[in-house]
Amino acid sequence: MRAALASAALQRHPVRTLLAVLGVAVSAALLLDMVMLASGMRESFRQFLLIQGFQLRVSPKGTLPFDSEATIERAGWALATLRAHPDVVTVSPILGAQTHTLRGDSAHTAFAVGVDPGVQGDYELLRGANASAPDRVVANEAYLRLTGRRLGDTLDVVVGFDPQFRSYTGRRALVLVGVGRFYYTATNQAVLAVPLATLQAMSGAARADRVSLFMAKVRAGASVEAVRAWIERTIPKVTAISTETAVAQVEERLGYFRQLAFILGAISLVVGFLLVTTLVTVSVNERVGEIAVMRAMGVSRAHVVQQIVLEGFAISLAGAVLGLLLGLGTARYLNAILSDFPGLPATFDFFLFQPGAAWRSLGLLVLSGILAGIYPSWRASSLPIATTLRREAVA
C-alpha cells in the first residue's frame, strides 16, 4: 500500500517528477564520470603497462621511458646481465629513433622502435609477418595512411635525416612485411618496428650498443621490488621502475584531473541530495492535511515516513539508472576530447568503467536520495494532528 501511495504521489505531478528525475540523472551522470575519471586513469595506465605482462621498465637514470633522448650504454652487456637473473623471465630491449621514409621529394616522418621481435612487448601483429630479418619492418595503420604504402612494399627509410642537406646517419631499404597495433604510441602517430640491430646500425656510432629502454618480465611468485632494486645496484646509470611506481608517478602528473574529479563528484552528490530534499519538502508541505488524516486514521509516524522516503528513493533510483546511461555516453565524449593530448598512447583511457566503483557511487547517490526524504517527512508526520487538521480546514 505504501508503495502504491508513493507511486501515486509521484504521478500526481508528472512534470515535476520528470524534472526531478532528470536533475538527479544529470547529477548521477556527472558523478559517474568523475568516478570513472578518478580511478580510470590509474587503472587504465596500469592495464596499459601490463598489456604484455612486463612489470619492470629500465630507463636512463633520472628519466621515465622515452621521456628524453637519453640512452642506456653497453646495452648488450646490460641485456645479458638482466637475462641472467634467475627471477627474470623475459627482457625486451627497445631503441627509439625518429625516421623518415623517402619517396621522390617527399619525406614522411615516423617514430621507429628497434626491437627483438621474439620478445617484444610493444605491438601486436594484426596481419602479415613479424620483422624477423634485418631488412624487414612492421608498420601501423597510421603509417600506411600517411605514406600510402602497402604490405610487400619496399621502403626507403633513413635515420638522422636533415631535410635541407638531405643527409642522414643511416639508410636502408626495408620490406614492409606486417601491420601491427602499437600499444605505447600516440593515436595517429606513424610508427615502424624494425630489428634492434638494424636501427642501431642506422642510428650511427652515437647509438651503437645503446638502447632507450629495457622491459622486463619477472617470474610469477618472485618479488618485483627485489629484482628492481637488484637492477639499479647492478647496472650503472639506470632507473628501474615497477608498474606501481610508474602508475604513481603518472598519477601525480595527472593529479589535477583526480582533484577535479573529486570536487565535481562531491558537488554532484550534494546537488542531487538538495534537489530531492527540496522536492520532497514541497511535496510534503502540500500534503500535510493528508498526512494528518493518515495519522488520525492510525497510520504510524514511521509508516508515513517510509511512504514519503519511498518517493525520494524512487526518484533517485530512476535518476541513477538514467544517469548511468547518460554518464557512459558523456564519458565517451569527454574521453575522446582528452585522448587528443599530444603524445598520449592510443591505448590509454582517462575514463574507465569499473563496475565496483560505479555501483558504489550510484548507490551513494540513491542513499542520499533516501536520506533527503527523512527529515521533511519526519517533520510533517510529527505535526500535531488536531492543529494541522484545523489549519487545513481553515485554509
Binding site: 544529470v26 587528443d340 593530448f341 599530444p342
Partner: protein, 288 residues
C-alpha cells in the same frame, strides 16, 4: 640542451655558504689571482629545494658525476606564468651563452634565435628574407610556434568547456525544477488572489517579479561563491605547482553570462509555472 638544464647542479661538499676570496700565494710571495668564477642564475624552486642563496658556489657539469665548472649563484629568478611548465618538476639554470656552449661541448651552436623586429609590419618581410637565405634552419612567427606547442592546453580547454556545458545543463534543470516547485507552493495564495478578483496578468507579473528577484539574488550569491572559489583554486594550484600562473579567472564576461543565463532560466521557469497556475480554476487550486 634540455638535458643540461634538467641536470642537477652538483654541489661540492663545502660549497653552500662558502665565500672563499680569490687569491693565493706562489712561492716567493707573488700573488696569483685565479680567474673569477662564472656566474649563473637559478630559479626559485631550485634555490628552495637545494637551499641555495646568492653568492653560493656550485659545480655545474653537463654529465652527472662528470667534471664541471665551479660557478657562483649570482641571481635567483622567478619563472614566468608559462602554462607549458606547470606540471614539470624541472629546475632552470641560466648561464651566459658562451659558458653553456663550452660546458656542453656545443661549440658555436644554438638551438634557436629569438628575433624582435623594429616594427610589427616588418615581421613578414624579415621572415621571408631569412627563409630565403636560410641554410639548415627556418624562421617561424612566434605566434605560429605558440599554436603548435599549445595543443595540450587546447585539449584541456576543450575538456573544461565540455564540463562547463554539462554543469550548465545540470544547473539549468535544477533551476527549472526548484523554481517550478517554489511557484507551485504558492498555489493557494494564487487561488485566494484570483478569488479576490485580481487579474491573471497581475498574478503572473507578481510571480515573475518574485522569480526575477530570487534569480538575481541567487546569481549574485553564486558569483560571490564562484569568485571565492577561484581564489581558493589559484591559491591551491599555485602552491602545488609552484607557479604564478592563474588557473581560474572570473571575468566580467563570465559573470555577465552566468547572471544572464540564471535570470533567463529563473524568469522563464517562473513564467511557465505562473501561467500554468492562473489557467486553473481557483477552486481547483484549493484542491476542491
Amino acid at each position: 640542451m634540455m638535458l643540461l638544464l634538467a641536470l642537477t647542479a652538483a654541489l661540492a661538499a663545502a660549497q653552500a655558504g662558502e665565500r672563499v676570496p680569490p687569491g693565493g700565494a706562489l712561492p716567493g710571495g707573488a700573488l696569483i689571482v685565479p680567474p673569477a668564477p662564472r656566474t649563473i642564475a637559478i630559479d626559485e624552486r631550485l634555490a628552495a629545494d637545494a637551499r641555495l642563496r646568492v653568492g653560493d658556489r656550485v659545480v655545474l657539469s653537463a654529465a652527472s658525476g662528470g667534471a664541471g665548472d665551479t660557478v657562483v649563484v649570482a641571481a635567483i629568478t622567478r619563472r614566468g606564468a608559462d602554462p607549458s611548465e606547470v606540471a614539470r618538476d624541472e629546475y632552470r639554470v641560466r648561464l651566459h651563452l658562451d659558458h653553456l656552449q663550452a660546458l656542453a661541448g656545443y661549440g658555436d651552436r644554438v638551438d634557436r634565435f629569438a628575433v624582435a623586429t623594429t616594427r610589427p609590419g616588418a615581421t613578414g618581410r624579415v621572415l621571408d628574407d631569412v627563409n630565403r637565405v636560410a641554410f639548415g634552419f627556418r624562421a617561424h612567427r612566434s605566434a605560429d610556434v605558440a599554436v603548435g606547442t599549445s595543443r595540450t592546453f587546447q585539449v584541456v580547454s576543450r575538456f573544461h568547456r565540455a564540463i562547463g556545458v554539462i554543469t550548465i545543463v545540470a544547473s539549468a534543470i535544477f533551476l527549472l525544477c526548484i523554481l517550478l516547485l517554489k511557484v507551485e507552493e504558492r498555489r493557494r495564495d494564487v487561488a485566494a488572489l484570483r478569488l479576490m478578483g485580481i487579474s491573471r496578468a497581475s498574478v503572473v507579473r507578481s510571480i515573475v517579479l518574485e522569480a526575477l528577484l530570487v534569480s538575481l539574488f541567487g546569481a549574485a550569491l553564486g558569483t560571490l561563491v564562484g569568485w571565492a572559489g577561484t581564489l581558493l583554486i589559484n591559491w591551491h594550484y599555485q602552491g602545488v605547482y609552484r607557479t604564478p600562473l592563474t588557473f581560474a579567472l572570473v571575468t566580467p564576461g563570465i559573470v555577465l553570462f552566468a547572471v544572464a543565463l540564471s535570470v533567463a532560466l529563473g524568469v522563464g521557469a517562473g513564467l511557465a509555472a505562473a501561467v500554468r497556475l492562473v489557467r486553473m480554476p481557483p477552486l481547483a487550486l484549493f484542491g476542491r
